[in-house]
């Protein structure tokens, strides 16, 4: 049986030769152990480097607006992109929000087996000197300087992958994968449930505690496909919404602004959490938002082009118990 990786390569070769795409965005193995890195492939580039494995974590949809915009002006062309379930939902979001047109992209959808959290594995290895990595269906075997250790894949997934309902893309041009997506049975996060069960004061305290770690590098924003604003409110000077300091109040202002702009848009891909160099658990807040949108409006973003995002429409039976009377 052909490996998924070679299936992808053959497909890209075909797409290039048929001139259906001019550039392809996929993954290659990274320079760090247990990491991949985004790979921009042009027609004459080396396809051998292209990788698909359990470490393909980055949400590549983030690159689409700028790559597509760059190509405009010339002949109409398409960008090929490899999309896991969540990534494809981001692409749909970008199209729905008119940052791209459907014709700009050729989506190679891939049934996602769940991506492995590199940091989880590394935190269990004392040595950073990894010599060899091997894997079978169930395990990742890591040989490092002072020993070796097996890691069960399903115990080392990203938090967002553990609760992922949509491992198979809904929107794609070609779907790769064996079709039997490992549908998760637990689609709600225990961690988030515990957080949202807390009192408002306790939640605020945790919110503050997490955000004291933030250094305002904006990696969360820049890794997020939804954060495509040409000028972010955080950097606007006319008007200036808040200050550039790293005082907690300014940090909180930024995150509240960014997180609330995700309501009804966040696909819980985890890009922001993974990008954060300070390990701020942003998903605690974004996932809670995802859950609330789902509960109140029955909406999952990025599954189709037809359904209107909840914040752009209303229904007479919309829940409104959260609207409080001014006291």
């Amino acid at each position: 049986m052909k490996s998924i990786e070679s299936e992808i390569k053959d497909l890209i070769k075909k797409l290039f030769s048929e001139k259906k795409i001019e550039v392809f965005i996929g993954y290659e193995n990274g320079t760090l152990p247990l990491r991949t890195t985004p790979y921009f492939v042009s027609p004459n580039d080396d396809l051998d480097k292209l990788a698909w494995n359990r470490f393909c974590s980055n949400n590549l949809a983030v690159y689409l607006p700028r790559v597509v915009a760059k190509k405009k002006g010339g002949n109409s062309c398409k960008v090929g992109i490899l999309c896991k379930g969540c990534d494809s939902r981001s692409v749909v979001g970008l199209i729905k929000e008119k940052q791209l047109s459907r014709n700009d992209v050729f989506i190679i959808g891939i049934v996602c087996p769940g991506i492995i959290d590199t940091k989880k594995i590394l935190s269990e290895i004392k040595s950073s000197d990894i010599e060899h990595i091997d894997e079978d269906d169930e395990n990742i075997m890591v040989k490092f300087k002072d020993g070796k250790k097996n890691f069960r894949k399903k115990d080392h997934l990203y938090e967002c992958c553990i609760n992922c309902e949509f491992t198979t893309p809904f929107v794609y041009d070609t779907l790769i994968g064996d079709g039997k997506s490992s549908s998760n049975t637990i689609t709600s996060s225990q961690k988030v449930a515990e957080f949202s069960a807390k009192s408002r004061q306790e939640r605020w305290q945790i919110f503050e505690q997490e955000l004291t770690k933030c250094i305002r590098c904006y990696a969360c924003r820049n890794a997020c496909p939804n954060c495509y604003c040409k000028e972010c409110f955080a950097e606007q000077t006319k008007p200036k919404w808040f200050s550039v300091t790293n005082d907690l109040s300014d940090i909180i202002f930024y995150h509240i602004g960014r997180i609330f702009h995700q309501a009804g848009r966040c696909v819980d891909c985890g890009a922001c959490v993974r990008a954060c160099p300070m390990d701020v658990d942003l998903r605690l807040f974004t996932r809670m938002l995802v859950d609330e949108v789902k509960e109140r409006f029955g909406y999952d973003p990025g599954l189709n082009f037809e359904e209107a995002p909840p914040l752009t429409t209303f229904a007479s039976d919309d829940k409104q118990e959260f609207i409080t009377e001014p006291s």
């Binding site: 990274g30 990491r35 890195t37 985004p38 690159y63 990696a219 550039v244 160099p277």
Partner: protein, 345 residues
């Protein structure tokens, strides 16, 4: 005593706490310890808080001398009072204890920019004059370390006043500057070093150096970088997300912005880290941006470090600490960028 042994002394590990506490009595000491923000330089109140088994800590030592947000002055127009930050300084001087040689070297670059040139930056200079740098040689470099490729090393002394090497059950201490000699004077816990100690250090350092696996060659880089419009700039930036991680974690990146924060008629002038990776960095008041895309911004970062710094200071403003590699959200590896540029036709 032999001349070459003159600046060396030995501190037995069982005397370490005593040694450290003596220094604590006279100085404010900042060293690596655990905190919410990961392992970083924090104020140390007891030798037990100190964490010296780290490889390199998360944030570089620059934030001590060049904080992310620093109040330069405070003003109150109603009273006409302007208060300069330097008016309230602590009576004790500072010791920065246990930073890696790469971070110490990076501070020497900061000195070139903020202290040794004109105009001199009073805020940085004042802190620098008050502080003594005690660095700790690397015994086990990380796989992301490439200091050897950029003119730094596991036992570089530049930027440090004293350098410590952990030997078996004792520390070898070398005073590098007059400031270092002054601090170690009259410390009863220190005993003279022998040639065997130096030999042990040399062996440890040779072993540590062999752990540096990067084969990046930066000598040929400058010439390549003289071509401002080279075609490789079209591709090397592609996966960059344009966040501030590499610049914020970099121990040599030193760009800043200044803002007046005014509220209810009183205010302060602050200096905050800025990043050439942000569009706002070069946005003109007219709306024009001379570095409009990721390509120009990435080019600026690489050129500043590997080209302009050579022209202006005869240095490469990269010490090979690897923090940008460890923290980049898309694993955009500076070693690979250098390699790609060198290989580009």
């Amino acid at each position: 005593m032999k001349k070459e042994l003159e600046n060396y002394s030995i501190l037995n590990k069982e005397d370490f706490n005593k040694f450290f506490n003596t220094l604590l009595g006279k100085y404010n000491i900042f060293g690596p310890s655990k905190s919410d923000k990961g392992d970083k330089l924090n104020k140390i109140n007891s030798a037990d808080d100190l964490m010296l088994d780290y490889k390199n800590f998360k944030m570089s030592a620059k934030e001590f001398f060049f904080p992310q947000c620093e109040t330069l002055l405070a003003f109150d127009p109603s009273t006409g009072i302007v208060k300069n930050r330097s008016e309230d300084v602590d009576a004790k001087n500072d010791i920065i204890f246990g930073i890696r040689p790469c971070d110490a070297l990076a501070l020497s670059f900061f000195d070139r920019v903020f202290k040794d040139g004109a105009p001199q930056d009073p805020y940085y200079t004042e802190k620098r004059h008050r502080s003594t740098i005690i660095s700790l040689a690397c015994l086990e470099p990380e796989p992301t370390c490439f200091c050897n490729a950029v003119g730094c090393d596991v036992d570089s002394e530049t930027g440090a006043d004293i350098i410590l090497t952990q030997l078996n059950s004792r520390y070898l201490i070398k005073s590098v500057t007059e400031k270092g000699i002054e601090i170690l004077k009259h410390l009863k816990t220190l005993i003279p070093a022998t040639e065997d100690d130096i030999k042990e250090k040399d062996e440890l350092m040779a072993k540590a150096k062999s752990g540096l696996k990067s084969n990046v060659e930066v000598k040929a880089l400058k010439k390549k970088l003289d071509d401002f419009d080279a075609s490789f700039w079209q591709t090397v930036h592609q996966k960059c997300l344009g966040c501030g991680v590499c610049t914020y974690f970099c121990p040599t990146c030193h760009c800043f912005d200044m803002t007046d924060e005014v509220c209810n008629n009183t205010g302060r002038r602050i200096r905050t880290w800025d990043s050439c990776m942000f569009p706002l960095f070069t946005l003109h008041a007219s709306g024009h941006n001379p570095r409009p895309s990721y390509k120009e911004r990435m080019r600026q970062r690489i050129l500043h470090k590997f080209n302009y710094a050579q022209e202006n200071y005869n240095e490469i403003f990269c010490v090979g600490c690897g923090r940008c590699i460890i923290n980049c959200p898309v694993n955009l590896d500076i070693r690979k960028v250098i390699q790609e540029i060198l290989e580009a036709k």
